[in-house]
């Protein structure tokens, strides 16, 4: 197999470690928030937004979408948008 030349200006280890730290701290904070017994409605939007941020961090840095040609990002995000539209439409019934 040939080596992939795409995304070779790869992210350094300290950036990887920083992303990991953010992922762990956010997840720990989320688990902590669920134990406080706050009204569920106010947290739902926050949790959904945070999961999007975490997913974007993994895709952008660990899957190298930040460095790779944007077509990979389109391939990944397009079905996700279609899916969100589908779930929204399903929720109307």
């Amino acid at each position: 197999m040939q080596a992939s030349t795409e995304g070779r200006k790869h992210t350094n280890r300290s950036t990887y470690a920083l992303v990991f730290l953010v992922l762990v701290i956010v997840t720990a904070a989320e688990v902590g928030l669920t134990t406080l017994g706050l009204p569920q409605g106010s947290l739902t939007v926050l949790f959904l937004a945070l999961s999007l941020v975490k997913a974007a961090l993994v895709a952008g840095f660990y899957m190298h979408l930040r460095d790779d040609p944007p077509v990979y990002t389109y391939i990944f995000v397009l079905p996700a948008i279609m899916l969100a539209a589908f779930v929204f439409m399903a929720s109307l019934y």
């Binding site: 197999m1 040939q2 080596a3 992939s4 030349t5 795409e6 070779r8 790869h10 992210t11 350094n12 280890r13 990887y16 470690a17 992303v19 990991f20 992922l23 762990v24 997840t27 720990a28 989320e30 688990v31 669920t34 134990t35 569920q40 947290l43 739902t44 949790f47 959904l48 945070l50 999961s51 975490k54 997913a55 993994v58 895709a59 840095f61 660990y62 899957m63 190298h64 040609p69 077509v71 990979y72 391939i75 990944f76 397009l78 079905p79 996700a80 279609m82 899916l83 589908f86 779930v87 399903a90 929720s91």
Partner: protein
């Protein structure tokens, strides 16, 4: 001049199996991941539909702290995997194989944690056939677990091939492709953790 250079680049890319200016194997993996988004999307939509339409108190049996710890394992496994690829690209073979092994161990621990969670739920009467919640929950998390299991086996194969010298700084595509799969499975879990356990 610039056009000439671009033409040459395209020609050499073509010869290297990158007719679109993209690596075909990598493109194929991303297309597979796109299909996986729809696969998990169907399962997630079904789970959410019943969660919203037919609320049940069975969700109270879910242990957020236990699964939070399990989530930590999977996030860590993604981190060790990027370190493995970085090690390989820097020619540090020991770091590459060691971090790949950590990834396997963390993935296996995640599966053990999920098995433990499932056993607790079964003991409390939440089963695959106990209710629509049980059916959709176990189908969704079970298929994710199956993906982790496939990833663990795949990574073990990579380790065996790696010890035989199959990968190097100039030949890292096999590891990068596996990375795309593994990190995607991690992203699916990030979403599932929020939709099933947090909200």
């Amino acid at each position: 001049m610039a056009a000439h250079e671009a033409g040459m680049t395209h020609k050499s890319e073509f010869r290297a199996g990158r007719q679109l200016g993209l690596n075909h194997v990598k493109l194929g993996m991303w297309l597979f991941i796109a299909s996986e988004v729809m696969f998990f999307g169907g399962l997630i939509a079904t789970f959410l539909k019943y969660k919203l339409a037919l609320p049940t108190n069975e969700a109270a049996h879910l242990d957020v702290t236990l699964v939070g710890a399990n989530t930590f394992l999977l996030l860590t496994s993604s981190f060790t995997l990027v370190l493995a690829l970085a090690g390989l690209r820097d020619g540090k073979r020991g770091a590459f194989l060691r971090n790949l092994l950590f990834t396997v161990l963390l993935g296996a621990l995640f599966l053990a944690g999920q098995g433990y969670e499932f056993s607790l739920l079964y003991a409390e009467g939440v089963t695959l056939s106990s209710s629509l919640f049980g059916s959709t929950f176990f189908t969704l998390t079970g298929f994710h677990g199956l993906h982790v299991l496939i990833g663990v086996v795949w990574a073990l194969v990579l380790i065996v091939r790696g010890t035989r010298g199959a990968y190097s700084a100039d030949n890292d595509l096999g590891i990068e492709i596996f990375g795309l799969y593994w990190h995607f499975v991690d992203i699916v879990w990030i979403v599932l953790f929020t939709l099933i356990y947090l909200i």
